[in-house]
Symmetry: C2
Subunit: 453 residues, 2 copies
């Protein structure tokens, strides 16, 4: 199947082209301009809202304007959710308003709100270990503080699973410390899920500043009562789209290199760093290759996924639609950790491609990109493809500011530094070009990738 298997590395000419591409793309501002366009002309685009449809229309038009050879969309259907009004205040012993936001999927409180005493847990695990006697009739407050980006996985459990765990023990609501690294008064939203068979209770997050204050109140030893009012809730079914732009390959057009981000965002900010940046970086990386007249051998497809935020719906739909043609995917990579720079290139390829990956890493090295291992995870949306055995690359984005802004009102375009996003665009351009022109197939759907999913 691999007609180029005898040639195991790039020629010097190809390496020179890749190096030229890297340096030229880094000086280009297209990703910055695309992101400016998306955040200004669409802004927040929560899945299932009227802005979701505006974002899809923007993406189709932008792909065409950028000169992609083919542009199409693929439907993605999911249950939609609406935020409604949200308000919280400490009513005793020290009346003060709190800055909170509903977590995605949360049900509403009763009209007029609910009031109950707070019970604090340091972590989700402490809630799991708690006696129902301590929780019954109360509002659970999980105080786990995210210190660095590395804490996201562990702290996130309180957000996603906290409500059902609390409800099982008789809590009437849950309000967590935001999953975020900033110390500004922004609550971080994000999805939560209700376990089947467990009563649903309202779920919200307060800003780190508010959580600090609530901790100070609780320390004083008197019961602290919170009034919470949410009118959020399910809003029927909605069909959005994965929007795809292709630069068609000159020799192997039916094999494709994938990259992309998710087009939807939370509603509080303007979806700049999460994940307008990923969309813009990958659109610009492909567009730059085309604009320079470079003709990739394989096709390059940029996929802007629908509704990542509320459950990876776009990624799952794309994987389902491509399950039968995994071997046609030369490589998959995703940008969903902010504006860059890319700091590491890891791979998930068959051993025959190791030499080529080393060359890709060498080309990226002048960007400050270090070589990673061969156990790459491409990202949340492309992750489903990797599970099906698709060759993948991890282009690690520096997330130093990502979890400051992530899912907050503060995720706005003024935070973007051109030098950072341009570097990321250059790295993705090199990834796409070298993968598309690789003398070896990376092994999607074959052993050993097939068994290592």
């Amino acid at each position: 199947a691999d007609k180029t298997s005898e040639v195991s590395v790039f020629s010097d000419k190809d390496l020179n082209t890749a190096a030229w591409l890297r340096d030229a793309a880094r000086l280009d501002n297209a990703s910055y301009r695309i992101l400016e366009s998306l955040t200004t002309e669409v802004g927040p685009r929560m899945a299932g809202t009227p802005a979701d449809a505006r974002a899809v229309a923007w993406a189709e038009a932008k792909f065409k304007e950028l000169g992609f050879d083919k542009v199409w969309k693929e439907p993605v259907t999911f249950p939609s959710w609406q935020r409604g009004e949200e308000k919280a205040e400490i009513v005793a012993p020290f009346p003060q308003p709190l800055t909170i936001t509903a977590l995605g999927n949360s049900i509403a409180t009763p009209a007029g709100g609910l009031t109950a005493e707070l019970v604090q847990f340091a972590t989700f695990k402490d809630l799991q270990a708690a006696s129902p006697d301590a929780v019954k009739g109360k509002i659970v407050f999980i105080n786990h503080k995210m210190q660095t980006a590395a804490d996201y996985g562990s702290v996130q459990a309180g957000r996603t699973k906290g409500a059902s765990e609390a409800a099982r023990k008789g809590a009437v609501a849950i309000v967590i410390r935001s999953v975020g690294t900033d110390s500004h008064r922004f609550p971080h939203t994000g999805v939560m899920n209700y376990e089947d068979g467990v009563e649903k209770i309202p779920a919200a997050a307060m800003s780190n500043s508010d959580a600090d204050m609530v901790v100070r109140m609780i320390k004083r030893g008197k019961p602290v009562s919170l009034k919470l009012s949410l009118s959020s809730g399910a809003n029927g079914s909605y069909t959005s789209y994965n929007v795809i732009g292709e630069i068609t390959g000159s020799e192997l057009p039916n094999e494709y290199v994938l990259m992309g981000g998710h087009l939807d965002s939370w509603d509080l900010g303007t979806g700049t760093i999460d994940d307008g940046a990923g969309c813009a970086i990958t659109m610009a990386a492909a567009e730059f290759i085309k604009r320079q007249g470079l003709k990739p051998k394989r096709s390059i497809r940029v996929v802007l996924f629908a509704n990542e935020e509320q459950g990876l719906f776009g990624g799952k739909a794309y994987a389902a639609a491509n399950e039968k043609q995994i071997s046609k995917i030369q490589a998959a990579a995703e940008a969903d950790s902010g504006q860059g720079p890319v700091t590491q290139l890891s791979s998930f390829v068959r051993p025959e491609a190791f030499a080529v990956v080393k060359q890709m890493q060498a080309v990226m090295a002048p960007l400050g990109v270090v070589a990673g291992d061969n156990n790459a995870y491409p990202g949340p949306d492309m992750g489903s493809l990797r599970s099906l055995g698709a060759a993948s690359f991890g282009l690690t984005l520096k997330a130093d500011d990502y979890f400051d802004l992530h899912h907050t009102p503060d995720d706005t375009f003024d935070k973007i530094e051109p030098a950072r996003i341009n570097q990321a665009t250059a790295a993705f351009a090199v990834y796409a070009w070298m993968s598309a022109n690789s003398p070896v197939n990376f092994g999607s759907g074959q052993e050993p990738l097939k068994s290592r999913k």
Copy 2:
């Protein structure tokens, strides 16, 4: 009147005491604890709201708890204002919600809001120079960006006077870029005033992030329409209080050294840096002197002013009540620019006191305080006393973060660094102690201060 006029400088013993006080106060955490108490137990305390009364009660109780010799309050009556609901969104050409807040004193929009095209001016001066034809029927947007703390005076004009200037030219509302140095998505509130005889129009501020976005929209050349809904408005008359705590002097109890800050705050944050810090610094500075058993010769009075934010009502009331006894005020100084450190000590004293002021500056020098001129402005609330010829000191607070947080929801206790507020407390303690024990009277109500107001 000045029985000590023959002695023109402090003794070595007094200087040693002052130096000891400086170093000991700097290691004390009382101001941090007082500020923690105010922001946790009271929080936002906008003048004329129920929280105003809670703040007054807190202040009286705290002065007593801290062991002040006398604690009392003096009524201050003013027109009160309520915020209500506030909402804004761009409705065309790119629908997006904006983060805005009503400016203090703003009237409401019609119920259901008003919608009109935005007309942008770079500065308040450009609005002043504009033709009514360009403004009539529109919403004025003043885009003046505050770069550093030094811009506050000039940019503030758009906030305080913009509405009447816009209304005179036929505008239906005004929405300014926030007067603030941050680049987070917080709108900065602050007082505005309507000119007599000019129609009142609603006035709001958008965050710097939103203003950047609106500028990007306007640059695209199509009319940009904003929908604004405010339900703010006047709310009758209210009587609050200046709350005063005194450490009574041992030799000249009827002469007093003044220091303080304002007890009220805006409602969006918790009034930490503006001006809980000023209250805490000056309360702690006096309390530390008392706690150490140092007996000041003159009295030290800490004044926590009512309603500074909406028009210096507390400061004006205090000046009116003290107009006849200006000569009893040994010195006045105020803390209303954040958490410190104090960077400069300037004076406004008669020449006979210059040698003593030099000694005060020398004692503060190890804190990093440099000597200023003899044209000090004590601060907004004490400014009225200076206008009446009161000897004054300017303890300049480093305002590097002040206008990031000023009048926003983000003015919260987690921003306070103990080392900064402790240094400021030490500087105010030295000011209070050395002024109270000065061998010379500083000359309030006498020439040359009387004529130099």
